[in-house]
């Protein structure tokens, strides 16, 4: 796991309820994870898994009226106990977030430069220094004509460029952790490659930790050191990327891997019956029970606690029994 170093981010038994139409709905049942400094953690899940809410919980940016329980520590300090001033500093300096739609997070009436300089200018009065830093960061993310871009408006830039500007904005703050919530989902695959390469490179060079939230298991496997798979507000499996990808220990992970279309051949896709559910829709037992091909009576009533198995953390009653079965299935699915 984190090899004895103090984890940068530690989440323990996070539980989140949100007010929806005059009642409280569970969106995260129980999430525990850690991110070490410089580590890239991928959180993979479908709709309703709670992955985006987890990121917002880390930023302490949950919607009004949200009820949060559990521990969330950044660098040893509980985020919930930060006062207003410290919280602002935390969000400005320690953690940075990159969103799926950069256009929705930028004021269309302000220039790129104004957007990028807002943060640095809060910390230093020397404008020239701030501009120089911003220009340098823009060049690092591959925007060569940075000086010209500073005077442009968001609508003049393509989605890919804008996302790079977003990344630059995140990096300029010199955070210790980057939360990237589906940063490339809206981009072309060639642009995605560029943006992910930039993120990976910057994280390596600056020893940044990153949490990459995505629905794309292949993308996560290519970039992350570890992957946590979420379903219905619960982490069902948490393991080193290669190990998870090559040998999943949870039926949902295996199902996800098997249902992806192959590039190299046309074959009937293995599917998981039904549709992904949200935390509040799941019954009392295992959240995956209604769709699991291996479900047994116990799973319908008792929620499995995450436990260790072969270096993976799995939340499944039958994890040991299913090892072989899942291995065979995933071999069929990923072999050429």
């Amino acid at each position: 796991m984190s090899e004895g170093r103090r984890p940068l981010l530690r989440i323990e038994h996070l539980q989140v309820d949100l007010p929806v139409a005059q009642e409280m709905r569970r969106v995260i049942h129980d999430v525990s994870l850690t991110v070490a400094p410089g580590e890239v953690l991928g959180i993979v899940g479908e709709s309703g898994s709670g992955k985006s809410m987890t990121a917002r919980a880390v930023m302490s940016l949950l919607p009004d009226g949200a009820r949060v329980e559990g521990r969330l520590d950044f660098d040893g300090r509980p985020v919930a106990e930060l006062d207003v001033k410290d919280l602002r500093r935390y969000r400005a300096d320690d953690v940075a977030m990159i969103y799926q739609d950069p256009r929705a997070h930028m004021n269309p009436l302000r220039t790129i430069g104004s957007f990028l300089l807002e943060g640095p200018l809060e910390r230093t009065k020397a404008k020239a220094d701030a501009v120089a830093r911003v220009v340098k960061t823009l060049k690092e993310v591959g925007i060569d004509d940075a000086e010209r871009r500073l005077h442009q408006y968001p609508h003049q830039l393509s989605g890919g460029l804008l996302q790079r500007v977003m990344i630059a904005a995140a990096l300029v703050a010199e955070p210790r952790l980057i939360l990237a919530d589906e940063p490339t989902t809206a981009l072309d695959v060639t642009t995605q490659q560029e943006v992910i390469a930039i993120l990976a490179e910057q994280c390596r060079d600056r020893e940044l930790a990153m949490v990459l939230i995505t629905h794309d298991l292949d993308l996560a496997a290519a970039v992350a050191d570890r992957i946590a798979v979420m379903y219905a507000g619960v982490i069902v499996e948490d393991a080193p990327a290669e190990s998870l990808y090559g040998g999943p220990r949870h039926p949902y992970t295996a199902g996800l891997l098997a249902s992806r279309p192959h590039l190299d051949r046309a074959a009937r896709l293995q599917t998981i019956p039904g549709r992904p559910v949200s935390a509040y829709e799941a019954g009392p037992g295992c959240v995956f029970a209604s769709r699991c091909p291996f479900v047994e009576e116990e799973a319908k009533v008792v929620r499995p606690r995450p436990r260790e198995l072969d270096g993976h953390i799995v939340a499944c009653h039958r994890a040991e029994d299913l090892r072989e079965e899942l291995r065979t299935r995933s071999e069929e699915a990923t072999s050429a």
């Binding site: 292949d218 290519a222 992904p276």
Partner: protein
């Protein structure tokens, strides 16, 4: 005789240029291809490739600046489609759209939206119509009880199934799927892909499949056409194109797809590597 023939299709817009004058934006630049009855053809490309515009012109929702669209030997009349023309071509071509949350009328139940289509095109009595609706729902894997639901209570995958059922109600020869599975969760996408493959096997309907996702295309289409900036850069069987692409752009596209052993590489790195050869 081919089911669909597209000849030298062009579409351009006049837009205001940055310096104030009007510029010509070319969305589709001389595209030609044909589709045999029951065949499957993918239009592959990234944003700005013009693939959706081509599909919408074939569908009759937009008109090309020049070029011809010939369906089953009959050319589409130019200009805005009259109702008569729309109704005639409705029996030949139908379309399933990308956004499951915008492709169904929120005020109409599933059953009534399918029945509306049947009433427009067929002379069935009430009983036969009701049977046919049940048949279609079954064909797309929906439960009969969901027939009374409104789109608001259906998931994305279910809505796409309804959209497919509606399109099939008219018994078209060609089904255009415009990124029809792109907005779905991975596990649901797999279900709908299987469904499309099954429908094709059962009904023999041809597919014109617009997508940016090569892996999905591989599952559904035997042939494909790669587009870039309005023009076709490569065409052939999906198998051949994916195994040994000839166009540099196609190679770039394939190389950018995350897969086991893949590492994201920056353009600078790729360019340096290519230059080094």
């Amino acid at each position: 005789m081919s089911l669909l023939e597209v000849r030298d299709l062009r579409k351009s817009f006049a837009v205001k240029g940055e310096s104030g004058g009007t510029e010509e934006l070319i969305a589709v630049d001389g595209v030609s291809f044909s589709l045999a009855p029951g065949a499957t053809l993918a239009l592959v490309g990234e944003s700005g490739s013009g693939k959706t515009t081509v599909a919408r012109i074939v569908a009759g929702l937009e008109t090309g600046t020049s070029g011809e669209v010939i369906v089953d030997g009959v050319a589409r009349p130019p200009g805005r489609q009259s109702r008569k023309s729309r109704k005639k071509f409705a029996r030949d071509i139908q379309m399933v759209f990308q956004d499951p949350y915008a492709s169904l009328d929120p005020t109409q139940s599933v059953r009534s939206s399918i029945a509306e289509v049947l009433r427009e095109h067929f002379d069935y009595d009430k009983g036969r119509r009701s049977d046919r609706v049940a048949e279609l729902l079954d064909q797309v894997g929906l439960d009969k009880r969901q027939g009374d639901a409104r789109p608001g209570s259906l998931s994305g995958g279910q809505r796409q199934r309804v959209a497919i059922a509606r399109a099939l109600a008219v018994e078209p020869q060609l089904l255009i799927l415009d990124e029809a599975v792109s907005a779905l969760d991975v596990s649901v996408q797999a279900q709908v892909i299987n469904l499309l493959v099954d429908i094709r096997a059962e009904l023999g309907v041809a597919f014109l499949f617009v997508s940016h996702d090569l892996a999905v295309v591989r599952q559904v289409c035997t042939d494909c056409v790669v587009m870039r900036r309005g023009a076709i850069v490569e065409r052939g069987s999906t198998d051949a194109i994916l195994k040994s692409p000839s166009s540099a752009y196609t190679k770039e596209l394939i190389a950018a797809i995350p897969r086991p052993g893949w590492r994201a590489r920056r353009r600078a790195e790729i360019a340096a590597e290519v230059a080094g050869h």
